[in-house]
């Protein structure tokens, strides 16, 4: 038999059916024409049957998809305004999410560059009451762990230090890391050149070996192929280079990269390694494949039981924690990134809801078109597919624009953050997969509502063709629900942005405890030729006089470490006449300033006196304490003349308190205030010190002259971290500022989107009711009444959304807590401010369509032509 097209075949089959049916009817005595008619009625609409049969044939119906795409494009071209707004909102929503995701992916989820990184852990002692207080461990305790713990394949100890490298150009301060030999076995990374450190390198008396990072090899030695065997002067010692690690190897540790690795035992002083009460080291281990971090933790706790008994010094309410390497690397930025990612997600959700509202309004406007197509035989499924195709087209365009947006955003991130973990963000495969998922999700979210609605419209094809409105109420309800949701989510974001703004203001308004303005700060490193403390001290003592001689400089001072800089030491406090267990009274950070330091810094002396030139340790040791310490230990008495010790009591002298000074923040403005003690620099100095220079005019203008003058004093002087104190404070809040900028951006986007959605719904409602308004105004209603009525409708939506938003904010408050400072996540003032701002802007969005309602011409409306 001849081949025929399936369409013709079906047509023929249905025709024969009608013929047979007609013959049967005719046999029953009906006229031929009537029989024919009855047969047709019995069969039903042939095009609907054909449609159904066809959909049995092709499950995928590729040709239809092609048709839908072409038709969709035509539809979108016909309404370029709608298409543009839809694409723009999706591009912004998807772009914001993609940018945030790529940053989070780089910082939180990207596989670490080590084999089986999930086995890497950093066991540490922590304060049992406050597990966030990480102490690291001591060398003897580490040795015990290493000898007895069976949970680790390898366990190594690290000691990070910052020292001067005088090789390959200007002297520079670098991060070095002294590591026990199995450090490289823990990480299982092979060197790019040469070898890694071995057990032979890591013993007393071994020749000093050094492994360079790829970056150091590149930046200081120009990738010298003959680098192996070369000697390098670092930290005042001479090392022989034995290997170079591959690029990217050191990128993982802390936020600052490590430049070189040296063997632990020959480099770390014995005075550090013999003490059970010097928590200066961090351990890193690789878990055995069959062990978990929890098992390792339990095992180390067991090992600690006898140690704490035997050495009471170590028993200070500690517990063991075994965080993964991933946790220690990202713990400080994790919650911020996740909250920001969630905020971006909310923006996308709002964008989708918005698109759903606009499409729904549009579908309602297209009801007649849909009805006509349904009547012409398009199945309900086909109509739904058509509308989904349109939203897929929009999502695809939005996704593409979003990728471009995200690319630009990650490129310009370096303007806001120096954090190398964030700057690694790129558009890689996981990010592109994420974009795809986001586009599909937005297609479904924004497309399903109007698509389902279209099904309803199409089913009611008959009534829709004749009357002007069908399914009106349900449609309106759905749009209103979407807009209420948008407003609610928008309020959550506004609230979050408000909280972060308040947080930043709180941090910047913290009293640092000294005058931060007009202050130049820097770190100095004296060359090795200053071999004794006395030589260094002589240099430091001359500094304030020399620098004060410069025009514009009002004062200069030297100290071991400046406030808001970090790098100070920490020791246990003991107080005369108050027997206490080690560590029971807490620890104090110590600083060693020159006389005149407090005046130059603008730190008020509350009682007692400053150091003077005779406080050099020869006539009794003296100490100045901060207000917090004085209040805590001598709440009623005068601390002047009391005696304290710092560090282990058996090998430290009594210090007499001679002064109390105002509290100063040590590292960050948002730190909790701790105990601080000052002892005279004149008692002993080394090659490294911090310098502060108070100037009268613009500090930036004078920085160069300060540097020149210092170089004149000592040409081999290493000057680093030369900055103004204001800049340093600015840097210290830059992560918070970045949080605020991003969150504020998301909240602003959300606000704009919610307003567009609200505008769309109100404008649609006004359009639907134009006739009614016209009639009412013809009957004497005043414009004000109509205006109030429309605004009232908008107000109800805004109020509903705000109420829901407040409830959501309360539910989500916990997530924000970690990012805040000095403000409750449910601060009522901010909540009210956010709600009022939102309501005001939203009502403004209703104003435009409301005005339009009052301009309806009664005569036109009555004729049904408006």
């Amino acid at each position: 038999m001849r081949r025929q097209r399936p369409e013709d075949d079906l047509e023929r089959e249905l025709r024969t059916h009608v013929e047979l049916e007609a013959e049967e009817q005719a046999g029953a005595g009906v006229s031929p024409a009537e029989a024919c008619r009855r047969a047709r009625v019995a069969l039903g609409n042939p095009s609907v049957i054909a449609e159904d049969v066809r959909s049995v044939w092709h499950c995928r119906r590729l040709e239809e998809i092609g048709q839908d795409v072409r038709f969709g494009l035509r539809q979108l071209r016909r309404k370029p305004g709608f298409a543009l707004i839809a694409m723009l909102t999706l591009a912004l929503g998807i772009g914001a999410n993609t940018a945030m995701f790529s940053v989070a992916e780089a910082a939180l989820w990207r596989t670490l560059p080590y084999p089986h990184p999930e086995q890497l852990v950093e066991p540490t002692e922590v304060d049992a009451k406050n597990p966030a207080a990480v102490w690291g461990t001591t060398y003897p305790t580490f040795r015990d762990w290493q000898a007895r713990a069976a949970s680790f394949e390898h366990l190594a100890l690290m000691f990070r230090f910052r020292k001067t490298l005088r090789e390959g150009g200007e002297p520079v301060r670098l991060n070095g890391m002294a590591v026990t030999y199995d450090y490289f076995a823990v990480l299982k990374v092979q060197p790019e050149k040469g070898r890694v450190l071995t057990a032979q390198d890591d013993q007393v008396g071994a020749p000093l070996a050094m492994v360079l990072s790829h970056d150091l090899w590149t930046s200081r030695f120009h990738r010298d192929p003959a680098i192996l065997g070369r000697t390098v002067n670092f930290a005042g010692l001479t090392f022989t280079v034995v290997g170079v690690m591959p690029a990217g190897f050191n990128a993982g540790f802390n936020s600052e990269p490590v430049a070189c690795w040296v063997p632990f035992v020959p480099v770390v002083p014995a005075s550090y390694t013999q003490r059970r009460n010097l928590w200066a080291f961090s351990a890193i281990g690789r878990l055995r494949a069959d062990r978990t971090a929890a098992q390792a933790r339990a095992e180390l706790e067991q090992i600690m039981v006898p140690i704490r008994k035997e050495f009471p010094d170590t028993n200070r309410g500690f517990a063991i924690a075994v965080p993964s390497l991933r946790e220690t690397l990202t713990g400080d930025i994790r919650s911020a990134l996740l909250v920001l990612l969630a905020a971006a997600g909310l923006v996308l959700l709002i964008a989708c809801a918005n698109l759903a509202v606009l499409s729904s309004v549009r579908v309602a406007g297209r009801a007649r078109e849909l009805a006509v197509r349904a009547a012409l035989g398009a199945g309900r499924r086909r109509l739904v597919a058509q509308l989904l195709t349109e939203s897929a087209l929009l999502s695809a365009a939005g996704g593409l624009a979003g990728i471009g947006l995200a690319y630009g955003a990650t490129r310009s991130l370096s303007a806001f953050s120096q954090d190398p973990r964030l700057l690694q963000a790129t558009l890689n495969v996981p990010v592109l997969v994420f974009v795809l998922c986001a586009a599909i999700a937005s297609t479904l979210i924004s497309g399903v509502v109007p698509a389902l609605q279209s099904g309803v419209e199409a089913q009611k094809s008959q009534e829709t063709l004749t009357s002007r409105s069908g399914g009106q109420l349900r449609r309106t309800r759905l749009q209103q629900a979407l807009v209420v949701t948008e407003i609610a989510l928008c309020l959550v974001l506004l609230m979050g942005a408000g909280l972060l703004l308040q947080t930043l203001r709180n941090v910047l308004h913290v009293d640092a405890g000294f005058r931060t303005d007009h202050l130049i700060v820097m770190q100095l490193g004296l060359p090795a030729s200053y071999s004794t403390g006395a030589q260094s001290l002589q240099f430091y003592r001359a500094l304030p006089g020399r620098l004060s001689g410069l025009p514009g400089v009002t004062a200069a001072t030297v100290t071991s470490s400046l406030p808001l800089t970090g790098g100070e030491g920490n020791g246990d406090i003991s107080i005369e006449g108050r027997p206490s267990a080690p560590g029971q009274l807490g620890g104090a950070s110590f600083h060693h300033p020159l006389p005149g330091f407090f005046q130059a810094m603008g730190i008020p002396i509350l009682s007692g006196r400053d150091f003077d030139g005779r406080d050099d340790g020869t006539r009794g040791r003296v100490v100045i304490i901060n207000e917090h310490m004085a209040r805590t230990f001598w709440p009623a008495a005068d601390p002047i003349g009391k005696r304290i010790k710092l560090g282990p009591p058996q090998n430290n002298p009594w210090l007499t308190v001679v002064g109390v000074v105002k509290n100063v923040h040590r590292r960050n403005l948002d730190d909790e205030m701790g105990f601080t003690v000052y002892t005279p620099l004149l008692e002993g100095a080394d090659n490294n010190a911090d310098v502060a220079v108070r100037v009268a005019g613009d500090p930036a203008a004078i920085i160069r002259e300060v540097r020149t003058e210092l170089r004149r004093l000592e040409p081999a002087l290493l000057i680093s971290h030369l900055d103004t104190m204001d800049q340093r404070i600015e840097d210290s809040v830059s992560p918070r500022r970045l949080n605020l900028i991003l969150f504020g951006l998301f909240a602003g986007l959300a606000l704009a989107l919610a307003c567009i959605g609200l505008y769309g719904v109100i404008a649609y409602a006004v359009g639907q009711r134009a006739q009614e308004f016209g009639v009412r105004m013809a009957l004497g209603a005043r414009r004000g009444q109509v205006l109030r009525q429309v605004l009232g409708q908008g107000l109800r939506l805004v109020a509903g959304g705000t109420g829901l938003g407040v409830a959501l904010s309360v539910a989500l408050a916990g997530a924000m807590r970690k990012l805040l400072f000095g403000v409750s996540p449910l601060d009522p003032g901010i909540l009210v401010a956010a709600a009022v701002l939102l309501a005001a802007i939203a009502l403004a969005a209703c104003w435009i369509p409301a005005r339009r309602a009052t301009r309806v011409e009664p005569a036109l409306a009555l004729r049904g032509e408006s």
């Binding site: 024969t16 069969l43 039903g44 049995v56 044939w57």
Partner: protein, 124 residues
């Protein structure tokens, strides 16, 4: 995809066709020999004493679906009493197996419903 398989209970005394039973009835009808669409509809109507009214529109999608599943095959053949050609459907071996399965499924369901209806006593 919704295929309307229930015939409308138009006239009094006519039963509604349960979802999914149309397939079973078509397969059973073809067991007696090849038939075209119109004949299948007639046959079901007649053998059920006009109790089951097949909506002709729903018949063809069902036929094409069964053919797609490989349970029946179709061919244009000349009718018994005329020179016209009709599209005849016949059962495949796979279709026979399917019929046995559908039949026992139906029997089990009918038995279960019968038990519930005949049950006397407390629901508790």
């Amino acid at each position: 995809m919704t295929i309307p398989t229930s015939a409308k209970a138009g006239a009094r005394g006519r039963a509604e066709l349960l979802q999914g039973t149309l397939d079973l009835l078509i397969l059973r009808t073809l067991l007696t020999g090849p038939a075209h669409g119109h004949a299948i509809a007639r046959h079901i109507q007649r053998t059920s004493d006009e109790m089951l009214q097949i909506e002709h529109g729903s018949l063809y999608p069902a036929l094409h679906r069964l053919a797609k599943n490989g349970w029946i095959v179709a061919r244009w053949e000349a009718g018994k009493d005329s020179s016209r050609e009709f599209k005849y459907y016949r059962l495949t071996p796979l279709g026979r197996k399917q019929l046995v399965e559908e039949r026992s499924k139906w029997a089990r369901a009918a038995e279960a419903i019968r038990r519930v209806l005949n049950h006397s006593g407390d629901p508790a």
